[in-house]
Amino acid sequence: MDELLDDFIAETRETLETLAWQLVQWEKNPQDRTLIDSVFRFVHTVKGSCGFLDLPRLLRLSHAAEDVLSCARDGQIIASPALVSAILAVVDRIAALTEALESGRALYDDDAHLIDAMLGFLPSQRTQDGADVIIDSELPDDAGIFAAAGPAKSRTVRVSLNLLDRLMSGVSDMVLARNEVSRQLRKSQTGAEVDHAFARLSASVAEMRDAVGLMRMQNIDRLFSSLPRLLRDISIELGKDVELRIEGSEVEVDREMVEALRDPLKHILRNAVDHGIETADERMAAGKNPKGQIQIVARQSGNQILIEIIDDGRGIDLEKLGSRAIAAKIATAADWQIWSEKAKLNTIFVPGLSTAQQVTSISGRGVGMDIVRSNLQVIGGTVDLENFEGQGLKMTLRLPLTLSIIAGLSIKAGDQFFGVSRSSVVEILSATNKNVKIEELGGISVAHIRGQRYPYARLEELLDIGEVVDSSPVSRTLIVIKPAIGATYVLDVESVIDNEELVVKPGAPIIMATGLYAGTTLPDNGRPMLLLDTSGLGAAIGVEQVQDDGAGKSDEIVQQTIKRPSALLFIATNGVKRAIRLNVVDRIEDIDVADITFVGGKMRAKIADRLYDICELDSIADTGQIKLLRLSDGQNIKFLAVEDVLDIFTLDGEIYPSAQPEIFEGVVMAQDESVELVNIYHYFETCSDVALASNTKALCFIGTVGDAEWEKRILAPLLTASGYAVSFDDADRKNAAIVLCRGSGTQDIDDTRTLHLRDTVHASQMPSSSIYRYDRIGLLSAIELKLAGAA
């Protein structure tokens, strides 16, 4: 929450800085519509953020200012210099309050005077609306906010991106220089001392490079983290039950982009809940799940980042939109007749248009969507709409990938290396794999992989480069690629070299004109590499250029996977062939044994500063790498150590029951051998992360009489470790789900939540429901029983 507040302060201050000039201009030309629009947008954004950060004073001010500005914009009141000054006074107050919020000082509250002065300009009936709002939000809690702001803040500096860019290229230079030095050192026989010093230098250069990379890049999660809370607040306010699903939060984007996307996403989400999602009754009448669904999917595809926001609401009513657009003089009735659906939909991005029936404090002033578009345009992005009337709306934000780090594969074709974004790679298999057949069909080649047929091309032929004719024929590699635009195809390359992080930079226009490349990158070896544009390559092969990620199709894919689950065949660490369901396997990783340690009773791997459990790994060698399967159930990640990975096969045969169903789901046939199919639940059931999620913690109150050492030292840690919150505070007693007390607390006998603990193994004169205090399992199961009974 503090982080969000900081963001809000920084954002508001920044907007105010840019707005300052426009405010002055507006004072001079009160009639200028574009200036009103930009002031309006600012106030609207502040209002939205305050609403969800719970800052009532700012909310009141911005709401009132918005009311007045909205009237001025619609021409209901004439913007006069006196009105402008009144509004400016409110804007100044917003600025002062924001400052106060940061410094933690209190600010004298005479907001009501400012608001009254401003609302005096409104036509009479509007004044009352505004007054309403003031009354219902008159809460004397400003002091609380300022006190909560707290004295100690983590200090940050704002640095210009130019400087960051310079730093980044400087560090890259340093890496290249280090590589050169290392080459020179290898040539000249130097002593151990020099080597040692060089190793230290290398380590610090590498660390610096990582740090600089992090300075610019941010996980898109940072952008998404505030959304669930936002959605919750909106849905409570509107009385709609909405579920938000976020996928692909591992995408990394430029820091600048995160900032630029923050507002648009908020507005889109607000609009989706307010206008898109119907009330539960309407939804049931339309035969939908009464709970609304909003899905946000981020993925990176070639040289773009796609963010899709999909809701299953009512979609956009084009007819209604038309009448609004005509009323707002955005289009004439004649225009509307001839415009394409796309042009019609795009009118929602024009300032001043809204299809909402009434103005709410959330949306409906027709201002949100134009912020969305203008913010996106600043960073070179676009927004597309797909309207399914009555079924929902899908909004796709497309963002460029300038200077961003992507996870890429380097591949070899001919005597050249190319990069390809890993996000578009579905799978990599060997051309000699038994499941693969290349068929000729009327002069073109088709790859046949496990019952699916894909267009197929050799990269060398596509790019017109000579194949290296090697005396020893090596097995080539097939990469199944699913680009953002176009159908899935198979690319035949000489080999896949490595899996690395690539810094993508745009290529010269003359290179981009080929349509085959997404940019250039400079790997550590100092030799430039071209990054392939997977969509462009698809076009060169001649695959159909339709975007095949429509809602209907993805359902189909889901159904297919349900019908034909696949499994991965591997050799387990004990040398036995086993299979695991493919849908839980994220990817295969090779981890240095140096990053694996035996701590806390488990083997754990340190990956990107986090520790992950490794299953089925008993011992580690001193050096080398260990192959791990990254398993995920959507929430938790575990690694499964394997000796080697053999193949992927379809689980279409029968699954024979296993004698140890908790470890093996059953026995299946793979490559004419019977192998055990690993029970994946078995790896995740021991995962305690879920139990520790803070919002699910049930509160246990421990009643104490006199010396409470045992409760504090033994009982409380046990409960905490089992995922319960513990309190000794009498004030929490009434909220607690469980009340624990030791000895004969007779006054609690009526309370159904109470569990009695006794000091002896045998129950004597204690109430019969008491539990021996060292009976850990008994105690925990009794708590669970109580909780289940209460629910």
Binding site: K505, I511, A513
Partner: protein, 144 residues
């Protein structure tokens, strides 16, 4: 007004390039070929941490690609926000050419016309003034 010009040789001819555009003159390290790109692109090379596009200047003039090897000379120039290396045979000197020395009356041969529109008298020899922006546009007839 006088500007500094670099005198370089392309396809054996002396040309002048305005030094405002020039960042440095470098020996090209390894060249990475760009498949299927415009024939005037000789490839990519790395200069410090940047990736630059190497232009085969001779191709623009003669229509024949030159075999560019590691170690050849290139003039590094920033054109429209991107950095390019323009391959040259050799560089001679930097000279100052006054605005009045530049004239358009003598036009170069058809070969050069796509990249040169002005000439100037330097010493007692006439040199062509190269417009680097034209070099990096590629073969427009092919793109069309």
């Amino acid at each position: 007004m006088t500007s500094l010009f670099l005198i370089a040789h392309i396809n054996g001819c002396r040309v002048a390039i305005n030094s405002d555009r020039i960042e440095s003159i470098v020996q090209i390290p390894d060249i990475i070929f760009v498949p299927r790109a415009d024939p005037s692109i000789a490839g990519l090379f790395a200069l410090r941490s940047r990736v630059l596009t190497l232009i085969d200047s001779q191709y623009a003039v003669t229509g024949i690609r030159r075999r560019l090897e590691k170690g050849c000379l290139a003039v590094v120039a920033e054109i429209a926000g991107h950095h390019f290396g323009l391959a040259v045979d050799k560089v001679e000197d930097v000279v100052s050419i006054a605005a009045e020395q530049i004239q358009k009356s003598i036009q170069p041969s058809a070969q050069w016309k796509s990249v040169v529109s002005e000439t100037a008298l330097v010493g007692d020899q006439l040199v062509m003034i190269l417009n680097p922006a034209k070099l990096v546009q590629g073969d427009l007839s092919m793109a069309a």
